[in-house]
């Protein structure tokens, strides 16, 4: 029964990811005084891509064709681990936060290989930059995870959220810093402004888009969907770990419905914040990204230090 519920939650997760992308587009357009497309436009885009004929370059090998499947599978599996509406689901035991980072790393590895598979300069450049940015983001992410794990004494996401719910509203400095660090890392990992521009058409300014330049048709659809799920994943992680109130702790229909409503409101608010930062800031040049990510690491490190100095019994 619980496994069925976990499966339904995963399906809900991956089905609502394009909706989040549509809402983000609406927020950005309103802020820029433009008229936004409908909230369901990303679904139409995905359906168009799935129907189109994919074009594959001559030098491509089986890795090029297998990479979108691997990327989508790892992202869906990651989505099944993160508690969306309810905690205490059995899928949360399969992997913890460190394994979650490993899933993203696996997907990114194959995508970077696929970028190099065609043998053009764009793919290689995109792969090189993407792997560099993610390498610099890893210590910050891990330090934020550590800070969380030192307070909650676990890396299992479900148990961690239960801990935060159980202790009530506590103003932890370590959590504030870890949340800020995680937000900066999320911006870098999902390829949003100010690290990368997801809507640019200039190849020399691309990081993520240059890797997937050669993809078309259903392959591109899978990769687009996977990046939307990844954005939602980071949003759900930030929102549910640091503000878990409202999430369902039992499986009654009322609790689940309330959990869904709470999550929608929290995610919508976080997306407004993301939209504001995308509109207010300009994209940084690639060698400024290291300062950005060192700042994220500094924040997470300060969070860990303030946990040790301020929050524990001596």
């Amino acid at each position: 029964m619980a496994w069925l519920l976990a499966l339904l939650q995963t399906l809900l997760f991956i089905a609502s990811a394009p909706l989040l992308a549509g809402w983000l587009k609406k927020v950005k357009c309103r802020l820029q005084n433009r008229r936004a497309p409908s909230l369901f436009q990303p679904y139409r885009d995905l359906r168009k891509l799935w129907r189109k004929e994919p074009i594959v370059a001559h030098p491509a090998s089986w890795i090029f064709k297998a990479a979108p499947y691997i990327v989508l599978s790892t992202t869906v599996l990651a989505a099944s681990i993160v508690p969306l509406i309810a905690v205490n689901l059995p899928t949360a035991k399969i992997a913890d936060v460190v394994v979650l980072i490993g899933f993203f790393a696996l997907g990114r590895f194959f995508l970077a290989l696929a970028g190099m598979d065609i043998g053009t300069a764009f793919g290689g450049m995109g792969s090189s930059r993407e792997m560099t940015v993610s390498a610099l983001a890893e210590p910050a992410m891990l330090m934020a995870v550590f800070t969380l794990a030192m307070s909650a004494s676990t890396t299992n996401l479900s148990v961690a959220m239960n801990y935060v719910l159980h202790t009530g509203l506590v103003l932890r400095p370590s959590f504030v810093f870890a949340m800020l660090g995680m937000m900066l890392v999320a911006v870098a990992e999902t390829g949003r402004i100010p690290v990368d521009n997801p809507t640019t058409h200039l190849e020399l300014t691309m990081i993520h888009e240059a890797m997937i330049l050669e993809y078309s048709g259903r392959y591109l659809g899978m990769i687009e969907w996977a990046s939307q799920i990844k954005l939602m994943l980071y949003g759900v992680l930030i929102v549910n770990i640091f503000f878990p109130w409202g999430i369902a702790q039992n499986f009654s229909l009322q609790a689940l419905g309330f959990g869904a409503l709470a999550l929608t409101l929290k995610l919508a608010a976080l997306t407004v914040v993301l939209g504001l930062s995308e509109v207010l800031f300009a994209k940084m040049r690639i060698f400024r990204v290291q300062e950005f990510l060192s700042f994220a690491y500094l924040l997470s490190l300060l969070g860990m230090l303030s946990h040790i100095i301020l929050e524990v019994r001596h």
Binding site: V170, P173, S174, V176, F177, L310
Partner: protein
């Protein structure tokens, strides 16, 4: 005490303490002077709020007056004075990038760990709830000194000096129920006079050696080379 056992006011003090240390780190990495002074002003305002909360937690009403004094002096008056000074001397267009930001930041983190290590025996002795923050206040003092060491601009030196005083004030508030009022007023006016005097000196230095770069101060020596 573990943080879950404290009241919300006490948790807020701890949170503001960590934000004050974050302001010190941000000051270390700033390349423009106006932003540096702005962050210093924010640090002063946070310090005033912390003092007000501490007045509530520690039940000592004269800390409210200290908070007000800190807010007017450190949060409003001195930053405005420094900002006018910068604009008058045309320094707001100077940029000074740190040559090794990573090393300076790592050094800063090391200073935080060091001050924690040094203050550990004191923290273990005292029954006061907010005493964990004494390590934070020592860290702010040390970071202010690091700011003075790593900067070439003289105005940044003044800001570093002021933030040292911020750290000392913070330490006094959390560890000893605040300083006696007379000492408090004396120190506050000393800082104010120091700021005024710095402003006068800057004009003199600049007219002598035509720059405010402290590395150039050795041009002032009288020995013939």
């Amino acid at each position: 005490m573990a943080i879950t056992e404290l009241s919300h006011y006490q948790q807020a003090i701890l949170l503001l303490a960590s934000l004050i240390v974050l302001m010190s780190f941000l000051m270390l990495g700033q390349s423009r002077l106006l932003r540096l002074v702005f962050i210093f002003a924010v640090q002063g305002i946070l310090l005033a709020i912390t003092t007000a909360l501490a007045a509530d937690v520690l039940d000592s009403p004269h800390l409210y007056i200290s908070a007000l004094l800190t807010l007017t002096l450190k949060g409003i008056f001195i930053p405005i004075m420094l900002q006018r000074l910068i604009l008058n001397m045309g320094l707001h267009r100077d940029m000074e990038t740190l040559p090794n930001p990573a090393r300076v930041m790592m050094g800063g983190t090391g200073l935080v760990v060091f001050s924690y290590y040094v203050c550990l025996p004191i923290v273990k002795l005292s029954p006061l709830i907010t005493l964990n923050t004494i390590a934070i206040s020592m860290a702010v003092v040390l970071l202010g000194m690091l700011l003075m060491i790593t900067r070439r601009q003289a105005v940044a030196h003044v800001v570093g000096f002021m933030s040292i005083e911020n750290g000392l004030f913070f330490a006094a508030v959390v560890s000893t129920y605040g300083m006696p009022m007379v000492v408090e007023l004396g120190i506050a006016f000393d800082v104010l006079v120091a700021a005024v005097l710095f402003g006068v000196f800057f004009f003199h230095i600049r007219s002598s050696i035509d720059s405010l770069d402290v590395d150039q101060l050795n041009r002032l020596n009288e020995v013939e080379k």
